[in-house]
C-alpha cells in the first residue's frame, strides 16, 4: 500500500503535494512497437483480452482484417490495418498496434477533475482508478490519441494499463509476451529509444525507406509507447496517428490560465467575503430563516 502510493508522481484533480513527488526511479518503462516487422497477427489483442479478463464482444465484418473500427472500453489493444499506395506504385499494408500511449504529460490526467481518478506512476505508466472516476468524460476529450472509452452502463472510463499489475511484479506486459515476431519490445525508455533508433537507421540504410524514424512525440512530453515507422514524416498513414499530438487547448486553457483565473476569482471571493464581514459584521438571523433541520425556529 505505502509503496504503491509512493510510486505515484501525478494525480488528477488533486490539490497539494503528491506522495511520490520526491521519490526517484532509475528509469521510465517503455514499450517499443516496430511497425516494420508487425504482421498483424492479433496475438497481442488476444493476450490483452485474456490477461485482463475482458469479455468477448460482437463484431461485424467491415471490409478489413481489423477486428473493430476502434478500441472499446473493454478492448484496449487493437491493430489498425491500412492499405497505402506509395508514389512509386508499390503497395504497403500498414499494421499498427493501437493502445494507450502513456504520455509523459498525459492529456487525460490534465483534463480529469476527479481527485485520484487518473494517476501517473513514477515509472511512467498512466493508470485509471475507476473507483475515483466520476464519469465526466473529460479525459476522453483530453486525449490526443482518442484512447479512453466509457462503459455506458457503469459510466466509468477504461483503457490499457500497460499491465501495471504485471510490470510491478517484474513481468513484461501481456501483449509483449505474446508477440511472435518480436516486433514488440519492453524495457527502459532509454533502451527502447536506442533500439528504435538503431532499427530506423537500418531501415534507412538497407531498405527502401529513407524516411524511417521513431515516433516519440514531444508535444505530450514523449510517450511511454514508441513506434518505429517506415515513414516517420507521415504518421497519419498508420490509422490516423497524430503528427504532432498535444493536449487540447481547451484542456490547457481550463487547467492553465482558466484555472488560475478561477483560483483568483475564488480567492477574490473569499477576500470580498472577509471585507464584507469587516464592513457589515455578521448577518442578523431573521425569523423566516430556515433551520438546517427544516423546521421553523
Amino acid at each position: 500500500m505505502s509503496q504503491e502510493i509512493l510510486r505515484i508522481q501525478k494525480i488528477s484533480g488533486h490539490a497539494g503535494t503528491v506522495p511520490g513527488e520526491d521519490t526517484q526511479r532509475e528509469y521510465k518503462v517503455s514499450k517499443l512497437i516496430d511497425t516494420t516487422t508487425c504482421i498483424g497477427c492479433k496475438a497481442c489483442e488476444v493476450a490483452c483480452m485474456e490477461w485482463n479478463d475482458l469479455p468477448f464482444g460482437e463484431t461485424v465484418f467491415n471490409n478489413t482484417y481489423q477486428t473493430m473500427p476502434e478500441t472499446r472500453w473493454n478492448y484496449w489493444n487493437l491493430i489498425l490495418f491500412n492499405e497505402h499506395e506509395r508514389e512509386d506504385g508499390t503497395l504497403m499494408w500498414l499494421m499498427r498496434k493501437n493502445q494507450c500511449m502513456h504520455c509523459a504529460e498525459p492529456g487525460c490526467l490534465a483534463a480529469c477533475p476527479a481527485d485520484g481518478a487518473i494517476v501517473q506512476y513514477t515509472n511512467g505508466i498512466v493508470d485509471f482508478q475507476q473507483a475515483n472516476c466520476i464519469g465526466c468524460g473529460y479525459c476522453i476529450t483530453g486525449c490526443p490519441f482518442d484512447i479512453p472509452k466509457m462503459n455506458p452502463k457503469t459510466n466509468r472510463v477504461f483503457k490499457c494499463t500497460l499491465c501495471t499489475d504485471r510490470v510491478s511484479e517484474g513481468l513484461e506486459p501481456a501483449c509483449i509476451k505474446s508477440c511472435p515476431t518480436g516486433c514488440l519490445h519492453f524495457g527502459s525508455k532509454d533502451d527502447m529509444k536506442f533500439l528504435a533508433e538503431g532499427r530506423a537507421k537500418q531501415l534507412r540504410d538497407h531498405s527502401n525507406f529513407p524516411n524511417a524514424g521513431v515516433y516519440d512525440p514531444p508535444g505530450v512530453g514523449g510517450t511511454g509507447v514508441i513506434y518505429v515507422l517506415h515513414d516517420a514524416t507521415r504518421p497519419e498513414l498508420y490509422g490516423g496517428l497524430p503528427k504532432d499530438p498535444r493536449i487540447p487547448w481547451t484542456v490547457k486553457l481550463w487547467k492553465g490560465p482558466l484555472k488560475w483565473l478561477g483560483n483568483v476569482a475564488m480567492v477574490g471571493g473569499l477576500i470580498g467575503l472577509f471585507v464584507h464581514y469587516l464592513r457589515f459584521g455578521p448577518k442578523d438571523r431573521k425569523d423566516e430563516d430556515i433551520h438546517p433541520g427544516g423546521e421553523k425556529s
Binding site: 498483424g40 468477448f56 464482444g57 471490409n63 511472435p180
Partner: protein
C-alpha cells in the same frame, strides 16, 4: 524442410512463394524477421495477392495462381544467362554433368510433352528419361505402384557418362539451359501476369547472392500448400530444388528448400506413412508384383549409378535392414527368416488409395464406411458436394472429434430438405475424442524436430484418446478373429501389442517401439560399443536385416534410446550460434538439423562460408566433424569424391529426375491448372499436365471461360482462425466474425460493388456466399493479352459453428467450389487456381 525454422535466421535471401508464413506460421516467422534484423536479409514475396507476409517483404510480385513453374523457370533462365550459378557445386554435387540418353526429347521438341507419351493411356514410357551409360543398376524406379503386370522397369546405368565441361548438348546442364531458354521474361509476363520489369527485379534480387560466383551467401526458398495444391504441385517444388542446386543453396545454413507444414504434426503424419504408397520412413509399399520379400527388396533397393571415378554412399542400400526391422516391430517372433519376415502379412497395394480417390470410391459405392479422426472430410474437400453425396451412399461413418462438425452432420448440410434427410440411411457414430491439450505424445514440426508434449488438461466427460479408440476396435476385431477364424487371421492375431495398457497404449511406449530395440546382443565392430538384447537401439545405424533388431520407423530411430525420451529434451543452448540447438527435442534423421550438410563445404571439405561452419573435413583425424551431425560417410576423404546427396543412388542432387522418379516429367514444365482462363502460351495444344486425369461422376464438372467462368480463384487460411475448428471459439469468431471474399477494387468498381456487400461466387460445381472485401491488395492482371481478375477466399467457415448456428452467415463451404483433380505424384488436390464467376448476392 531440408533445413529448419531456426536456421532461417542464417539466411541472406528469402523467396517466399506458395506460402504466407506471416499469416499461417506467425511463430516460425520470427526467424525470417530475425534474419532481416540481424543480417539485413531480404524477403521476396510472390503471391496471388498482397499478404501479411508481403507486408514485411522487400519486394512483392502478384502472380496468377498456378503459374509458379513459369516464374521459377524464368529465374533459372535468368541465373544461367547472367552466370549467377554455383559452378563448382553444380559440377560436383549435382547431375548437371551427367549425359542423358540421346533419344530423350524435351516438350519444346515434342508438342508440349516429354518423349515417351502415350495419349491413349495418358501416361509415359519413361525409358528415354535415363542417363547414358553402361551397366544395369537398379534404379529408384519404385515411386509408383505399377498397375497390372507391367514389364520390368528400366534401370539406371551403373556407370554414367559425363562431361565436366558441361558443354555436351546431351548433358543435364545443356538440357536445362535449352528447356528454360523458352522461359524468357516476356513469356513469364504472358503466363504469370507479373510485368517483365517487376519479374526482372525479383530474379535479379534473388540471384544476387551468387553475383560473380561468390559462394559465401545463402538463399532459402520457403513454401507451403500454395505450391503443393496444384495438378503439377510436385513439379513446382522440383523447380525450386533445381534453382537451389543451380545456386548452390542446398545443405547450407540459411539455404535449402523448406516446406512449411499446415498442422502441428503433418510432418509426423507423413513420416509415419500418412500416404498410402509409403510405409513408415518412406519405404515403398509392396505391390502384387512383389511376390516375395526378396523381389520386393530388389525392386526398392537402389544400387549406385554414377560417373565411374566418383563414389556414392547410396544410403538406401540399407533398405532391407529397415524393412526387416519394421516387420519385426509389427509381428515380433511371427516374423522370421523362414517365413520371409512375414512379408505375406503386409497388404499389397494395387491401386491408388489417395484422398480424392477414396471419396470417389465411396461415391461409386466401392467404399462402404469411413473412420474420420482428426479431420473434417466434408469441409476440407475438394468438391464438398461430391463428398456429401458420397457419405449419403455410405453404410456407416465414424467421426472422432471434439465438436460436432460438417462431416458428422453432413446430412444437415444446406440444400438437403427434411424429406431428403429421412432418405439418408448412413449410420453416423460420433465419438468424443481428446483435444490436443488433453493428451501427450510428440509433434514433428516442419523442421523435422520431434517435440514431446505433456497432457495439460484432463479429458472432459466420456472422452477417449484416439489411440484408445483404435486400440479397443483392434482388440475387439482380434477377439472375433480368434473366436470365429477368418480367411487370413494371421496378420491380426500375430500383431505385436505389448503395451502396459492394451486398451489405451501409452504413447511413450509407442515411441519406444518406433525407435526400435535390440532382439539379441549387438556389437559395433569398429567401436566395440555394445547393445544388449532388449535395450533400445541408439540409432538406425544399428539396424540389421537378420532379425536381431526391431524398429517401427528407421528415420525415428534415436528418438527414444536407453538415455530416455530424446524428444522431451529441453536444453536451449546453441554453442555454434547457428540455431542448431542439439539438446532441444530431437530431429530426424540422427538429430541432424540441416540435411545434406556435406554440401556446405567445397570439394576439399572446407566450408563455403567460414562464418557459418556446419561441418568440415578434419585433416588430422581424417574424419568429418562439425557443429551439426554430419550427413555423410564420416571417413570418406574429399579426394574420393563421394557425393553429398547420399539418399540418391547418384550421390548428387537431381536437376534431371530420371526414370520413374516423377510421373509427369524429368524436368518441370509449366502446365495450366485444370481450369484455366487461357491456353498454355508455351504450347496451346497441350494446355494441362498431360498425365492428370479427370474424374467421371456427375458431380465432377470442370468449368471453362466459354461457360462464363473467367475469374481465377484461390483459397487460403487466416491467422485469426485455425482450419474448421475455431469457428466454435468465441474469441476467434470475434476476430473474424464473418466469411469474406477478397476482390480487387477495380473489379468491384466494374461490378458496382462496395465492401461489405454480399457476393455469390459460383464455380461449375457450387456456390459460395460471403461479404466482399474490396481491397487494393489484389489487382487485375494482364494474362497473355487478356485482362483477368483474380479473387481469394479464406476457407474457415461452414455450416456448423457459433456464427453458423446463429444463422449469421450463408453457411456455405468454400470447397463447394473446388475441383476434384490431383497432382499425379503426391495426389494433392488442386485447391488453388480454379475458375469462378462473381455476382452480387
Amino acid at each position: 524442410m531440408t533445413n529448419g525454422w531456426v536456421d532461417m535466421k542464417n539466411t541472406d535471401m528469402m523467396l517466399i512463394m506458395g506460402g504466407n508464413p506471416a499469416e499461417n506460421h506467425p511463430c516460425g516467422f520470427k526467424w525470417p524477421v530475425e534474419a532481416k534484423r540481424t543480417r539485413n536479409a531480404k524477403i521476396i514475396s510472390v503471391d496471388p495477392r498482397f499478404t501479411r507476409t508481403s507486408a514485411v517483404a522487400d519486394l512483392f510480385c502478384q502472380i496468377r495462381a498456378g503459374t509458379d513453374i513459369a516464374f521459377l523457370g524464368g529465374v533459372v533462365h535468368y541465373a544461367m544467362e547472367n552466370n549467377r550459378i554455383a559452378k563448382d557445386y553444380l559440377v560436383n554435387y549435382t547431375n548437371a554433368a551427367f549425359l542423358v540418353k540421346s533419344d530423350f526429347k524435351l516438350p519444346a521438341d515434342t508438342d508440349g510433352v516429354f518423349s515417351g507419351f502415350d495419349a491413349k493411356t495418358q501416361s509415359y514410357d519413361k525409358s528415354t528419361w535415363n542417363y547414358a551409360g553402361t551397366g544395369g543398376g537398379r534404379g529408384s524406379d519404385a515411386a509408383h505402384p505399377p498397375s497390372g503386370s507391367a514389364p520390368p522397369a528400366p534401370r539406371l546405368p551403373e556407370k554414367v557418362e559425363f562431361d565436366l565441361s558441361l558443354q555436351n548438348p546431351n548433358c543435364v546442364f545443356q538440357l536445362l539451359k535449352k528447356h528454360y531458354s523458352r522461359y524468357t521474361p516476356e513469356m513469364v509476363e504472358r503466363i504469370t501476369g507479373i510485368p517483365k520489369e517487376q519479374f526482372l527485379k525479383a530474379a535479379d534480387l534473388y540471384t544476387s547472392i551468387r553475383k560473380d560466383g561468390d559462394m559465401k551467401k545463402a538463399g532459402t526458398i520457403i513454401y507451403a500448400v500454395g505450391w503443393t495444391q496444384h495438378s503439377f504441385g510436385t513439379q513446382i517444388i522440383r523447380t525450386a530444388a533445381i534453382l537451389q542446386l543451380l545456386l548452390g543453396n542446398v545443405g547450407r545454413a540459411g539455404g535449402g528448400v523448406n516446406a512449411l507444414r499446415g498442422h502441428s504434426n503433418i510432418q509426423g503424419a507423413t513420416d509415419m506413412a500418412g500416404i498410402f504408397d509409403n510405409l513408415p520412413g518412406y519405404l515403398k509399399v509392396p505391390t502384387p508384383a512383389d511376390t516375395s520379400f526378396d523381389s520386393w527388396m530388389k525392386r526398392i533397393t537402389p544400387t549406385p549409378s554414377k560417373p565411374a571415378p566418383w563414389d556414392s554412399f547410396n544410403y538406401w542400400s540399407n533398405t532391407p535392414k529397415f524393412a526387416v526391422s519394421y516387420l519385426k516391430a509389427l509381428y515380433g517372433d511371427a516374423a522370421a527368416k523362414q517365413n520371409e519376415w512375414a512379408f505375406d502379412y503386409l497388404p499389397k497395394v494395387d491401386r491408388n488409395y489417395s484422398w480424392v480417390q477414396l471419396w470417389d470410391n465411396m461415391y461409386n459405392g466401392i467404399v462402404k464406411g469411413m473412420f474420420a479422426f482428426g479431420m473434417n472430410g466434408v469441409a476440407i474437400g475438394p468438391d464438398s458436394k461430391k463428398n456429401i453425396d458420397a457419405l449419403k451412399k455410405a453404410d456407416w461413418l465414424v467421426v472422432g472429434e471434439i465438436y460436432p462438425d460438417e462431416t458428422s452432420e453432413f446430412w444437415k448440410s444446406p440444400g438437403i430438405s427434411t424429406d431428403e434427410m429421412k432418405q439418408i440411411q448412413t449410420t453416423v457414430y460420433r465419438l468424443p475424442c481428446a483435444g490436443f491439450a488433453e493428451k501427450d505424445g510428440s509433434f514433428t514440426n516442419s523442421a523435422r524436430w520431434l517435440l514431446w508434449k505433456n497432457t495439460a488438461l484432463p479429458m472432459p466427460g466420456d472422452c477417449r484418446t484416439d489411440q484408445g479408440i483404435v486400440a479397443q476396435i483392434f482388440l475387439k476385431i482380434r477377439e472375433l478373429y480368434k473366436k470365429d477364424g477368418g480367411k487370413f487371421p494371421d496378420p491380426v492375431l500375430n500383431l505385436t501389442w505389448n503395451y502396459s495398457v492394451p486398451s489405451n497404449p501409452p504413447l511413450a511406449e509407442v515411441l519406444k517401439e518406433i525407435n526400435g530395440k535390440a532382439l539379441a546382443d549387438l556389437e559395433d565392430p569398429a567401436t566395440k560399443q555394445q547393445v544388449k538384447a532388449g535395450q533400445q537401439v541408439p540409432g538406425f545405424a544399428w539396424l540389421k536385416d537378420d532379425g536381431t533388431t526391431s524398429c517401427g520407423n528407421w528415420i525415428y530411430s534415436g528418438s527414444f534410446t536407453e538415455a530416455g525420451n530424446q524428444t522431451a529434451r529441453r536444453d536451449p543452448s546453441d554453442p555454434s550460434n547457428l540455431g542448431i540447438h542439439p539438446g532441444w527435442g530431437w530431429s530426424w534423421p540422427a538429430n541432424r538439423r540441416v540435411m545434406y550438410n556435406r554440401a556446405s563445404c567445397d570439394v576439399d571439405g572446407k566450408p563455403w562460408d567460414p562464418t557459418r561452419k556446419q561441418v568440415w573435413w578434419n585433416e588430422s583425424t581424417q574424419k568429418w566433424t562439425g557443429n551439426d551431425v554430419v550427413d555423410f560417410k564420416i571417413d570418406s576423404k574429399p579426394k574420393d569424391h563421394m557425393g553429398p546427396f547420399i539418399m540418391n543412388p547418384e550421390g548428387v542432387g537431381r536437376i534431371f529426375g530420371p526414370l520413374a522418379a516423377f510421373a509427369d516429367g524429368p524436368l518441370p514444365e509449366h502446365y495450366e491448372p485444370i481450369e484455366s482462363p487461357i491456353d498454355n502460351p508455351l504450347h496451346p495444344e497441350q494446355t494441362h499436365n498431360p498425365v492428370v486425369k479427370r474424374f467421371k461422376t456427375p458431380d465432377d464438372k470442370y468449368g471453362t471461360p466459354k461457360d462464363g467462368y473467367t475469374v481465377v480463384c484461390t483459397t487460403y487460411r487466416l491467422t485469426e482462425l485455425y482450419h474448421y475448428w475455431t469457428k466454435n471459439n468465441p474469441m476467434n469468431v470475434q476476430l473474424i466474425p464473418e466469411p469474406f471474399v477478397e476482390i480487387s477494387a477495380e473489379m468491384a468498381q466494374e461490378m458496382g460493388l462496395t465492401g461489405g456487400e454480399k457476393v455469390k461466387v459460383s464455380s461449375i460445381r457450387g456456390e459460395y456466399i460471403a461479404k466482399a472485401m474490396v481491397t487494393k491488395r489484389i489487382k487485375a492482371m494482364m494474362i497473355d493479352g487478356k485482362k483477368i481478375y483474380q479473387i481469394g477466399i479464406p476457407i474457415h467457415q461452414g455450416y456448423r459453428g457459433i456464427a453458423e448456428d446463429e444463422g449469421k452467415d450463408a453457411r456455405t463451404l468454400v470447397n463447394l467450389l473446388t475441383p476434384t483433380v490431383f497432382d499425379p505424384n503426391a495426389y494433392t488436390p488442386e485447391f488453388k487456381g480454379f475458375l469462378v464467376k462473381l455476382e452480387k448476392a
